[in-house]
């Protein structure tokens, strides 16, 4: 049992139960199935991207461009369907291709050129957003095919929409890959030390590029989910999402320096951030303040473990 729930995960579980209890106490509606589905549905893009961001950060890199890639994919879809008359299914495939290409671009500059991922993805954060703005300028495009909107807005199995279903499937898939497969183990090893992994004969550059491509792919998919869910797309789709996404991952116990963290922790952190935001909305706290609280949470999630280890080192065992 301790293997699945480390001390940090247990701590997160306790916090989560407390927030759920508080929310349920404030509003009896909170615990209904519909509200729980809505909870995810309102942030489905962020939580989906967070799962892959965990891989990126465990691998000791960071991808700040996911929000912009999401916007680029949504804008490309809107332009293709709304203005060029491309069939929506084909447009979806093309957008996912854009995601893969953008991820490859990030990965190539990081892994082959040896540039810090912080700078590369900061540049593509501006650049991808720029391309999205070139496509849509200051327009807003809506009116997508009915089946596409239905995928984003209606339940696919019972009340559960496609986004939530794909999130659960992706979680299970990535959990298996990270905890059970060779790919996951390589991700940890490279995250601990790229040099050591290189000496052990791993193709670290290829591995990093693959992870960035996965990040781009999932961000592009999230952009499509957004287009389907909201039904209209503007140039600023996904702006600033990186804050929530990175907070979820780091709060989940993934080390910002790479090499450690579990998907269980990230899953719990996702629930904490979602229910905390939902609870603040129930108490009529504005969006700006909510974002500030998430910011505090981000600092706390890195600060508390550090203080913990420092105290542990000081007191003689």
């Amino acid at each position: 049992m301790t293997r699945i729930l480390g001390p940090w995960e247990t701590f997160l579980l306790v916090v989560l139960v407390l927030i759920y209890a508080a929310n349920a106490w404030i509003s009896p509606e909170f615990l209904t199935l519909q509200n729980q589905v809505n909870l995810f549905q309102l942030s489905i893009e962020k939580v989906t991207i967070a799962l892959v961001m965990a891989f990126v950060i465990i691998n000791a890199e960071i991808d700040l461009s996911v929000g912009s890639m999401m916007g680029l994919s949504a804008c490309a879809f809107a332009t293709l369907v709304g203005e060029a008359g491309v069939p929506a299914a084909l447009a979806c495939l093309l957008c996912l291709g854009v995601g893969l290409a953008g991820g490859f671009l990030n990965g190539w500059f990081v892994a082959r050129m040896g540039l810090p991922s912080l700078v590369v993805t900061l540049a593509t954060l501006i650049g991808f957003r720029g391309v999205a703005r070139i496509l849509l300028e200051d327009r807003s495009i809506g009116s997508f095919p009915d089946w596409f909107a239905a995928l984003g807005q209606r339940g696919l199995i019972g009340p559960i929409p496609l986004g939530l279903l794909s999130f659960v499937l992706l979680f299970v898939l990535l959990y298996v890959v990270l905890e059970r497969g060779g790919f996951g183990r390589k991700t940890y090893v490279i995250g601990v030390s790229r040099d050591v992994a290189e000496f052990a004969g791993l193709d670290t550059a290829r591995h990093k590029i693959l992870i960035f491509m996965a990040s781009g792919l999932v961000a592009a998919y999230a952009g499509l989910l957004f287009a389907a869910r909201v039904g209209a797309v503007r140039g600023d789709v996904g702006q600033g999402f990186e804050l929530d996404i990175i907070t979820m991952v780091l709060l989940g116990g993934v080390s910002i320096f790479g090499g450690s963290g579990t998907l269980t922790g990230v899953g719990l952190a996702i629930l904490i951030v979602l229910s905390l935001r939902n609870g603040m909305s129930l108490m009529n706290v504005t969006g700006h303040i909510q974002t500030g609280v998430v910011g505090l949470l981000l600092i706390a999630s890195v600060l508390i473990p550090r203080l913990g280890t420092r105290l542990a080192r000081r007191s003689p065992a």
């Binding site: 500059f109 540039l115 810090p116 720029g130 910011g295």
Partner: protein, 342 residues
């Protein structure tokens, strides 16, 4: 003949790029090089240069500050509110006030980065959101308008100090350039400021040389915050109307200016003069794209992203070649007595 240092070479190369970009747009746009272009760019650079200068101080120590835009916004609003309630406040006091506000925010960032050991990207990404929500709370979602401000403040950015060849040098621009030059002199001449380079090049070696690396990083964040605070006052004076989104995106623009200006993202190398020229370059391109018929003004961000990527790539390739050259030279010199020339 004295040999040029790599830093000087880099700035000369940057000036060349600046001239080439200007020449390109001059050939594309009719009546391009005129006094209006100079005024527009210099008023914008007056604000960005201060932020880029602060960003450079932070990047020199191997850190980054994403919260500078939010600090600019908060300071613009707070100084606006201050001068509205006390219109007779002396300009110097107001400037000091803006510096203090910014320094306060910088202190929070610096303490968390230097003494709590939280990486700067995390601290300042969070701080960006926290400072912005502090602004929303503080302002109560009210705006400040030009009518609230005293006349001297509104006049300040457009006040011509002197004219060279028909080009007006206005007060805010001149002030910003003077500040950047002062910071540059401090960085090159003063011992405590040199510590920024030492810490950025190698924090362990700096510690062994008796430099307090933590205090140096803290000082960099405080100085960056203070400069962003002053930039907030300039922002207030230039635009007059301040809402809660004031200063949004300046953090990215300042990083772009610094990186284009040859400040190494790995810390320890670069100059604020480079960042100033980088800021001019960014503004020149932005202002020119708006007037260029071939592309729409919405190309701005895409071009900016591409520029940053090419600047860091060019830098990395150059560094790689230099390192290879040095290794080859050292191998050649190995049999003889080694005289290291860094």
């Amino acid at each position: 003949m004295t040999r040029l240092s790599p830093g000087t070479l880099r700035i000369l190369a940057l000036l060349l790029v600046l001239v080439l970009v200007g020449a390109f747009f001059a050939s594309q746009i009719d009546n391009y090089l005129n006094a209006r272009l100079f005024n527009r760019i210099s008023s914008s650079v007056a604000i960005v240069a201060l932020i880029a200068c602060g960003q450079t101080l932070v990047i020199l120590t191997r850190n980054i500050d994403l919260s500078l835009g939010a600090i600019v916004g908060f300071s613009a609003y707070a100084t606006g509110a201050l001068v509205t309630t006390a219109p007779d406040l002396h300009p110097i006091l107001l400037a000091l006030g803006s510096l203090a506000i910014g320094a306060g925010f910088g202190l929070v960032n610096g303490l968390l980065v230097a003494y709590a050991g939280v990486p700067s990207i995390i601290v300042t990404l969070a701080a960006m959101a926290i400072f912005r929500s502090a602004l929303v709370e503080f302002s109560g979602a009210q705006s400040i308008t030009t009518d609230d401000l005293p006349q001297w403040l509104v006049d300040f950015p457009n006040l011509p100090l002197f004219t060279v060849a028909g080009l007006q040098f206005r007060a805010a621009f001149v002030a910003a350039v003077v500040i950047v030059v002062l910071v540059h002199l401090a960085l090159t001449r003063l011992r405590p400021a040199r510590a920024l380079y030492a810490v950025g090049s190698n924090p362990d070696a700096a510690e062994m040389a008796g430099i307090d690396a933590r205090r140096t990083v803290l000082a960099a964040f405080v100085a960056a915050g203070a400069l962003a605070g002053l930039a907030g006052l300039f922002f207030l004076a230039r635009f007059g109307n301040i809402t809660v989104v004031a200063g949004l995106g300046f953090e990215l623009k300042s990083i772009a200016a610094a990186v284009l200006g040859g400040v190494s993202i790995n810390g320890g190398s670069g100059s604020v003069i480079g960042a100033l020229i980088g800021a001019v370059l960014v503004d020149l391109i932005e202002n020119s794209l708006v007037r260029w018929d071939v592309v729409s003004e919405f190309w701005r961000e895409a071009v900016l992203g591409l520029l940053i990527l090419s600047a860091v790539t060019a830098d990395a390739l150059l560094m790689r070649r230099l390192t290879r050259l040095r290794i080859r030279r050292e191998k050649a010199a190995a049999p003889a007595t080694k005289e290291a020339t860094p």
